[in-house]
């Protein structure tokens, strides 16, 4: 398990009402993760803009935050993506709208485009705050997937950095894995037995992942496992919402095409409804 996964953190700066809150969150995280913060703004460089950003980060400068500001022109998505490549960014922080409306869904907001194309981990902030809000509950996916162990490890790393007390691993199980269709009371009984069996298998799999995690990472956190039968990607988002999670940690999606966007699945559900802050690990 790496002890220092995020060395370079970037944030896209837009001069929106959320600017101060976004910058504060990014700066705080950089300090917590012991990382360099790189700010990127798409647009003309001006003394006034630079001053506004500097002003926001004043308190953090005193805590020896290492940061740089870049101004570049071009289309926002391309600029940010090349910036990620050039500067070896490990984590990009983006402010996102909580629920995209139907128009931006098809046009694709900047945040979502970057989410799909970026080669690094992404943190989507839906409720940035100037003051620090303690992150009390992290939900992480426990899908049956090659990337899951890494994602869970990262979730534990973040949980320790943020001093989170509670971490829930959600194992989403597709309904289609159930071979028995419930028609009457006999098939219902059988189906429930099968569910119980799958649930145990999933729990065992997650336990193996947990075994890989060093004890000192686990000791201060109450760990829960929650198997859920349901639509993949959707259920975990809904769960994060009702369990009032402060951060949702997910595997990065595979390649996506137009049809995936038209008929949402997996992580797309979360991107359209963003139940809470989302960290996508790549």
């Amino acid at each position: 398990m790496t002890s220092h996964p995020f060395k370079n953190i970037a944030i896209g700066v837009a001069f929106s009402p959320n600017l101060k809150a976004n910058l504060h969150e990014a700066a705080r995280l950089s300090l917590l993760f012991n990382a360099k913060l790189s700010l990127i703004h798409v647009g003309e460089e001006s003394e006034e803009k630079r001053n506004r950003v500097e002003k926001c980060l004043l308190t953090f400068k005193n805590q020896s935050l290492d940061y740089s500001i870049d101004f570049k022109s071009g289309t926002p998505v391309d600029v940010i993506l090349t910036h990620i490549d050039n500067k070896n960014i490990d984590l990009i922080i983006l402010g996102a709208l909580q629920q995209e409306n139907i128009l931006t869904y098809y046009l694709g907001s900047i945040a979502r485009k970057i989410t799909r194309a970026a080669a690094c981990s992404i943190l989507l902030l839906i409720k940035p705050s100037v003051e620090r809000q303690v992150c009390q509950h992290i939900v992480v996916n426990g899908l049956k997937d090659d990337h899951t162990p890494e994602t869970v490890q990262m979730a534990f790393f973040v949980a320790n950095a943020l001093q989170t007390q509670r971490l829930t691993i959600v194992e989403e199980i597709k309904e289609s894995e159930l071979s028995i269709k419930v028609d009457d009371d006999a098939s219902l009984r059988k189906a429930n037995l099968q569910r119980e069996k799958i649930r145990r298998q999933e729990d065992a799999r997650v336990d193996r992942i947990l075994d890989q995690i060093p004890e000192n990472y686990k000791s201060d956190i109450s760990i829960e496992k929650q198997p859920i039968f349901g639509t993949r990607g959707y259920s975990i988002g809904h769960f994060a919402q009702i369990s009032r999670a402060d951060l949702l940690v997910m595997n990065a999606p595979g390649k996506m095409n137009f049809w995936d966007r038209l008929f949402p699945h997996d992580i797309e559900y979360i991107l359209t409804e963003l139940p809470t802050d989302v960290l996508i690990i790549r």
Binding site: D184, D185, L188, I228, I242, Y269
Partner: protein
């Protein structure tokens, strides 16, 4: 929709019931012609037609008053059977005693069933010539819809009646129904779904599997075969009266009143569907009903996007919490449009489990959903599970939601202020006996479930309760029903429940033996006479399982008590007694007598250890 079908049936058959065969274009014309037919009855020149009308009216009266009379001999046959029996008897009376012709015109009697050979030759060849026409598809769709809906409703009802608490396979039933409809259609027949009448009779007589259905079918075939000549003695108007009554029940004013209490928008939906169905046809009526419901929902929420954006997205999350109960959360909205998603999840939960349904993330929940959830609630309740709906409390407060959301959530009263005279007196009685009175409906009715008397009955509500401090002694009005759908009979009565601080044997004590059958199903058998009390054994029917325990329990004191006091039906479920007498709500005097009887019985039972 069912109301519209009811009115169509009522409209068409009403005329035949009164001996006036009409041939009109649309269903609405038939309804409008009803007053004319009624006036026409008094002007018949043909006495035979008058007789036909009399037969119809008498049959209708039997149907109407059957439910109101509670007499065990009268209840031996169901009402339609009485009509048939009386019709045939009258016909024989004319033929054998008066030696006269039957007084009703031949065209108003059931025609004779043709012989086997005739049937074979008259089987039509399927003709798909009209396949291109709207009328063809309208009939196909109507038949499919009506048959499926009727069948599904019946399954729902029968599953609730099933003493073994099983869940039926809906898909298999629909497949069988489809197959039957197709094959009977090819032979020129029209299928009829009679499941509910047959099934409730089967259940009431201890049938538990499909062999009871098969027996029924065989019985039907042999009956038609052997007694078909008797059928020609039944006047058509008498049979039509059964249909008229059924039609009326489907569209009764009480139904409309009930809808109004849910909300005004329900009335709009109801009348749009009803009128479209009557003036155009069933399919258009259903489509119009769905559209108007959707439009009303949009207007109520002033938000189209809520529905359009979220209609296709998944919105239900279910998981098993570590405590072992199921938790279900629904997002966005939950109406008839997407209820199936919630239903899919609900159907995966065995009914003896605990479920918490959280609707707090739902911006809008409609009446259809709440009604269905209420159904789930009662099934779970009956089968030992628990079904709780949370998160709806703020809906009313957040906005002035016009839907009767709160009304449908159980636990909230249906009567509060404005007590009747009887209720006021009950309050006085309660004070007199140092007890508490509560007028409103209670949810706390599960104590009744353990009594065998309620094993085939559905408790609709318990209200007007008088109880003492620890609720060990309570008198209450109860409304329960037997059977379902058109065979449903409602009973309102007053009962007394006494909790005893000792273990009792399970038994039932009754003066008449006619309940024997009901308890026989539960494994109760006759208890042999108790020594030295032959008079008691002669006068009372004592049933139970544990013969010795019961014989020991009925000691001299208790037997003498029963012998010297007014008669009540008494049942024990092991730790409490249920005492009641009649099939109607008790008057003030009777309630006082019941309290007195109960108090003395309580003393004796408590003492006798």
């Amino acid at each position: 929709m069912l109301a519209a079908i009811g009115l169509i049936i009522l409209g068409k058959q009403f005329h035949i019931m009164l001996g006036n065969r009409l041939d009109l274009d649309s269903s609405i014309d038939y309804l409008l012609a009803i007053p004319q037919t009624i006036i026409g009855v008094f002007k018949y020149e043909d006495i035979q037609l008058t007789h036909a009308a009399i037969a119809g009216v008498v049959a209708l009266l039997i149907m109407i008053f059957y439910g109101k009379i509670r007499n065990k001999y009268f209840k031996f046959f169901p009402a339609p059977m009485w009509i048939v029996v009386i019709s045939i008897a009258t016909s024989y009376f004319y033929e054998l005693v008066l030696k006269e012709d039957h007084p009703i015109a031949n065209e108003y009697m059931i025609p004779e069933i043709p012989s086997g050979a005739e049937i074979v030759t008259s089987i039509p060849v399927p003709d798909f010539g009209l396949m291109g026409s709207w009328a063809f598809w309208a009939s196909v769709l109507s038949l499919t819809l009506i048959a499926s809906i009727e069948s599904l409703l019946s399954i729902k009802a029968v599953d609730q009646l099933d003493p073994q608490k099983r869940r039926s396979n809906v898909n298999r039933d629909l497949k069988a129904l489809g197959l039957a409809t197709i094959s009977s259609g090819f032979l020129g027949g029209l299928n009829v779904v009679t499941v509910i009448a047959r099934s409730s009779v089967n259940v009431n007589n201890g049938g538990t599997n499909r062999s009871s259905n098969f027996a029924h079918a065989m019985f039907l075939v042999s009956f038609v075969w052997l007694f078909s000549s008797q059928l020609t003695r039944i006047p058509l108007p008498a049979l039509m009266a059964i249909l008229v009554y059924t039609g009326y029940k489907l569209a009764s004013p009480t139904l409309i009143k009930k809808l109004f209490t849910i909300g005004k928008e329900q009335l709009i939906i109801f009348f749009v569907t009803l009128l479209t169905t009557l003036f155009i046809d069933l399919i258009t009526g259903i489509i119009a009903g769905i559209l108007i419901t959707f439009i009303i929902h949009i207007i109520l929420n002033r938000n189209v996007l809520l529905f359009i954006q979220n209609l296709l997205k998944p919105n239900v999350l279910m998981y098993k919490e570590s405590k072992g109960n199921y938790y279900i959360s629904v997002k966005h909205f939950c109406t008839f449009l997407n209820f199936y998603k919630l239903k899919q999840q609900l159907d995966l939960v065995p009914e003896d489990q605990d479920v918490v349904l959280d609707l707090s993330l739902c911006q809008f929940v409609d009446h259809t959903v709440l009604e269905n959830l209420n159904g789930y609630q009662s099934v779970f309740h009956k089968r030992g599970g628990h079904f709780e709906i949370i998160g709806l409390d703020m809906h009313g407060a957040e906005s002035d939601h016009p839907f009767a959301l709160r009304k449908l959530i159980p636990g909230i009263s249906f009567i509060t202020a404005n007590l009747t005279k009887r209720q006021n007196t009950l309050q006085e009685i309660a004070e007199e006996f140092d007890m508490t009175y509560a007028a409103e409906k209670t949810q706390d009715e599960d104590f009744l479930d353990s009594f065998k008397y309620f094993q085939f009955k559905k408790v609709e509500r318990v209200y007007n309760r008088i109880f003492n401090n620890g609720k060990q002694f309570k008198i209450f009005d109860i409304h329960y029903s037997e059977g379902e759908f058109i065979t449903k009979a409602d009973v309102k009565t007053t009962m007394l429940n006494i909790k005893v601080n000792r273990i009792l044997p399970e038994f039932t004590l009754d003066r008449e033996g006619f309940l024997e059958r009901v308890y026989g199903l539960a494994g109760f058998k006759d208890i042999p006479p108790i020594e030295n009390h032959s008079d008691f054994s002669k006068r009372f029917y004592l049933l139970g399982e544990d013969t010795h325990g019961i014989q020991d329990f009925f000691n001299d004191d208790l037997v003498r008590f029963f012998e010297s006091n007014p008669y009540y039906h008494i049942e024990s479920d092991g730790h409490s007694l249920l005492v009641f007498r009649s099939d109607r709500t008790a008057g003030i005097k009777e309630i006082k007598a019941l309290i007195d009887f109960g108090k003395r019985l309580h003393k004796i039972v408590q003492k006798a250890v």
